[in-house]
Symmetry: C2
Subunit: 607 residues, 2 copies
């Protein structure tokens, strides 16, 4: 059974409007108009591209995978053409600044497109996502010359980007990074085909300011490929006499190929050593890269010396939001596949003796409703984070922007961690709806199940997200930013009062807000004297807060739906899902809150 | 990193003793002695076989998979030899009756071995498991002649067996089975190489009593392979003039090859059409089989005409227990891999500046403890079911046996469904502990993650288990058998009173028992007037009861441990795990009980 990915335009548009209101984006001049005028057209067009171009490549891409050949990494048939069309249709540049040829759309609209790419073809989607992270870093930190030289082809999608951060011994702990960068001393190493020196320009490179980068990096997504003629690597490296640990790391721009006279590109000293063979995202080449095997790869410092980690962090939030959006897309895709299968597959008989589609079986419905209610919550939170990001950039006054920064700081780790957990759970439920048919390799749900499992791992494991949330963003400010959010959640619960069918949601959400407030007060008190406390309870805390935030999203949607025509199917769906969430999903918070209350003692015993 | 499977002998032995006491097997003459005298030796020997023979084949088997060739299914290198050694060492026959060359060990001991095979190499383990299900069916239902002819080679493992139940249009709903069986009329069809007729014997087949079976079956595990020279298929088929639906199905024994003069085996009309390419259990050939392409496959009726479903059911319980045991083995294996990885992998630094193994990180510990506490609960319940099965066979009086039947009826669907869910969760946690390293294909944890996912699907989906539990085994008898069990659980909770560190477990378990009792009373009352109620709440109900049953297992283990030397590491582990379960896992019951309370209304809305 093949069935192309279909962007859920109506639900997405509702989520966009809801997020724009919740984040205050709706009142930002310029952005609100863009939403009203462009969202529908962009979404419809993105949906068509996903359905016609990306989705049809997804299964074959999984089966074939990308391969490393003598000439570099080769993607499965159709991927290079799809990428060229992606750029030609302007998808690479939707959020790029206008002065660089971008379309400067709100990130909120781009977020919906990002969800669509992830749902249709996650492997493909990861390539432009990495580029948009790099664009973010270069815009904020690179010199004028580097920006002039490298941003235009990145914004257009003509070139792509890759993040070269970790190393075999390092994993999540970048403090042990060993890759070295030394000043090039104005000369290209002999191993590199001659490049023309001069002030950085279209056809020259600035050899005076160049560094020689040497080292080996792992887990580099789209580190090499045949979709574009050049790949801009952002490489974390240690300079001579740098202090040890994280504070000694600097970020370098290392292109796969160097601009040379005549518009040519000459090979830099960048080698793809091998590809990982992975359980999922098999078209996305996960590379082991070697820099400087022939004397040193030419690179240029991005941001100040020894500020590499800060530069990387400015992209991390963007990448983490990307994981949440891609995960939402996968959850949506799992739902689509399961929903369709449940309608077509017949099992058992109804009272009249006719064979029933399995969607009439109670537990199949329970699974589908769980999938839909979780996906709705994931989408709502991810879009709210995107809208909040827009406000941090374009909010009309400093106070608004700073408040948005505070909220985004809380939302980002939750979106990354919880949406990725949701994708894993929803994919597994989708598999269960399919039964044995889902377990065979050529069933797309089995690919979604395998693809989704990377989400909780990469771009900072979910434990790293949880520690970031609890230690840096809740405990450090004494819970002030969280309190602001809890008040918003309680307000949303309050809007449901008097709607009888939504009482359970209103009461449940208000109760969790109160319990979270109490727990945070307790953690603030105990954390200073108990160094293991925050780490021990961070993951249950994140999941607890996320479940409440999901209820908040359902409350906002249901309150809005209740004002509209009750015969509208979207309205009925939103109210049904909100009620289902209150009865079946929000009560999961109890297990997490109990775990938080139990603290560190049970964790630090024999394992 | 390769690390062979290591049977957890100490924990297994403790679980065996605990299950033997809980089920009353300890007081059954003959069985108790067998446990004392043989359990250690059998387990140690099974552990060695798993470590030396089965575990080393697991990764290569996954990578190569079984293949269909012109000569039939070929397993990866090493599997035929491993199976020959398995039989030569007597593992195929450990539970077989003595008069047929078996060793007649308690199923409880065999259960531990079954867990070991599943943990070391699930694909392999499924082959003897299918045979032991078939042996069960034939012992109970086949004619004396069929038993004499087919049981000895099945018990020795010389021949294997396969269950041919479902068909493309049927899925879980066997009522639509279309395979046909007609009386052979005393003649072999021309397409079958001549066989010698006569009373069934070693070298002859009873053509007078033979049937001709024709049809296509799917999802037949180990339906063809090269481990043994013959495969006994048990095929559900419809006889002429049989009533429609389930009541018209009969069970037939259809050998792949027919005994012929000179000890030869002649091909029956049985063809392997294709193999499924699956996400996991890739060495276990999942066959599409065709019977009767050349005129009809010779088969013999097992049990009465039209009693095929009853015959199959007598094996189902055995097979479902097998899924629970294999799943426990996979969970144990995921734990072993993650535990080892967490010890070896270094990330971050401790206060003294030394690199820390990740097992020192709080959330890695939390994940490992969750894995261990769940695996302990799974093992305890699965072994208790096995011990209870033994009591149904060898209990000294009728009342004891009948009581054991009642308990086994409750335990079986829980063991199948919950242990398989646990394997999926524990494998996913194991993946998370490994991080990116676990996501690559040559990491064994990625295989465990893929292999485990079949458990909730096959041998009756977990929804089928839940309906069996709630509709047939709880509501039908008005909750009487469940009440007996709840009293046992409450008694176990009572034994913890006064042990301060175990108060949370004792109180939590007692509270869930009380809530379950109330919920069942409510369901009894509402179910007759609400036909969708039981189906709507069956899965949450099963998970709720299973969480309580897991607490019961931890309570029994902790109470026993508290009587022993507190310096013993096993004692410390059991008490630590019981406390962890009470704080982190048992509270999940709240979400399930809330879902049960919400009934069918939210399920039967627009999906």
């Amino acid at each position: 059974m093949t069935m192309p990915y279909e962007a859920p335009l109506v639900m997405m548009r509702a989520a966009i409007d809801q997020a724009a209101r919740a984040a205050g984006l709706i009142s930002v001049p310029g952005r609100a108009e863009a939403l009203v005028e462009l969202a529908d057209a962009v979404l419809e067009s993105a949906g068509r591209f996903a359905r016609e171009v990306l989705s049809p490549l997804n299964r074959a891409g999984d089966a074939a995978g990308s391969r490393l050949t003598a000439g570099g990494v080769v993607t499965p048939p159709g991927f290079p053409e799809a990428y060229r069309r992606f750029c030609a249709d302007g998808w690479a540049s939707i959020t790029g600044p206008e002065e660089l040829g971008g379309q400067d759309l709100p990130l909120l609209i781009a977020a919906a497109a990002t969800e669509i790419w992830g749902g249709a073809n996650l492997s493909f989607a990861m390539c432009p996502e990495a580029a948009s992270g790099a664009i973010e870093v270069l815009r904020l930190h690179a010199s004028e010359a580097l920006r002039r030289q490298f941003l235009p082809p990145l914004v257009s999608g003509e070139w792509t980007a890759a993040m070269a951060l970790t190393e075999p011994q390092a994993g999540s702990d970048l403090s042990t990074v060993r890759t070295i960068a030394e000043p090039a001393g104005g000369r290209a190493p002999t191993g590199i085909a001659s490049v023309r020196a001069g002030p950085a320009g279209e056809r020259t490179v600035d050899l005076e300011g160049a560094w020689l980068v040497s080292g080996r990096k792992i887990f580099i997504s789209w580190g090499d490929h045949d979709l574009a003629e050049n790949i801009v690597h952002l490489v974390l490296a240690r300079t001579p006499d740098a202090p040890p640990g994280l504070k000694g790391l600097s970020l370098f721009l290392v292109p796969k190929r160097l601009p040379a006279p005549g518009g040519e590109l000459r090979a830099n000293d960048v080698t793809t050593v091998s590809l990982e063979h992975k359980m999922g995202i098999r078209t996305s080449p996960t590379c082991v890269m070697s820099y400087g095997e022939r004397g040193g790869a030419l690179g240029w410092l991005v941001g100040p010396l020894h500020a590499g980690i800060e530069c990387v962090f400015s992209m991390m939030n963007h990448m983490r939001l990307g994981v949440g959006l891609h995960s939402t897309g996968l959850a949506e895709r799992a739902w689509q596949l399961a929903r369709r299968y449940a309608e077509e597959r017949r099992q058992g008989r109804n009272a009249a003796g006719a064979q029933r589609p399995i969607i009439e079986h109670a537990d199949v419905r329970r699974m589908l409703l769980t999938m839909r209610a979780l996906t709705h919550a994931a989408r709502g939170l991810a879009y709210t984070a995107a809208a909040t990001f827009d406000v941090t950039r374009s909010g009309t006054d400093e106070a608004t922007r700073v408040r948005a920064e505070r909220r985004l700081a809380l939302l980002t780790p939750i979106v990354k961690a919880w949406c990725s957990e949701i994708a894993v759970e929803v994919a597994s439920l989708g598999m269960q709806v399919h039964g044995g048919t889902g377990y065979v390799d050529d069933s797309e749900i089995s690919q979604v199940y395998r693809d989704a499992r990377i989400g909780p791992i990469f771009e900072g494991t979910n434990y790293i997200q949880a520690q970031d949330l609890l230690a840096r963003k809740v405990v450090r400010d004494g819970g002030a930013a969280l309190e602001e959010w809890l008040l918003d959640m309680e307000h949303a619960a309050g809007t449901l009062r008097g709607m009888q069918t939504l009482t359970a949601l209103a009461d449940g959400l208000a109760a969790e807000c109160a319990r979270l407030r109490t727990a945070v007060a307790q953690l603030k008190k105990s954390a200073p004297s108990n160094p293991e406390l925050v780490g021990s309870v961070a993951c249950p805390f994140l999941n607890w807060l996320a479940l409440a935030a999901g209820a908040w999203q359902h409350a906002i949607a249901a309150a809005e739906a209740a004002r509209q025509d009750p015969a509208n199917p979207v309205v009925r769906t939103q109210i049904a899902d909100a009620r289902f969430y209150a009865a079946h999903i929000l009560p999961r918070a109890h297990a997490h809150s109990t775990a938080v209350a139990s603290g560190a003692e049970l964790i630090f015993r024999e394992v």
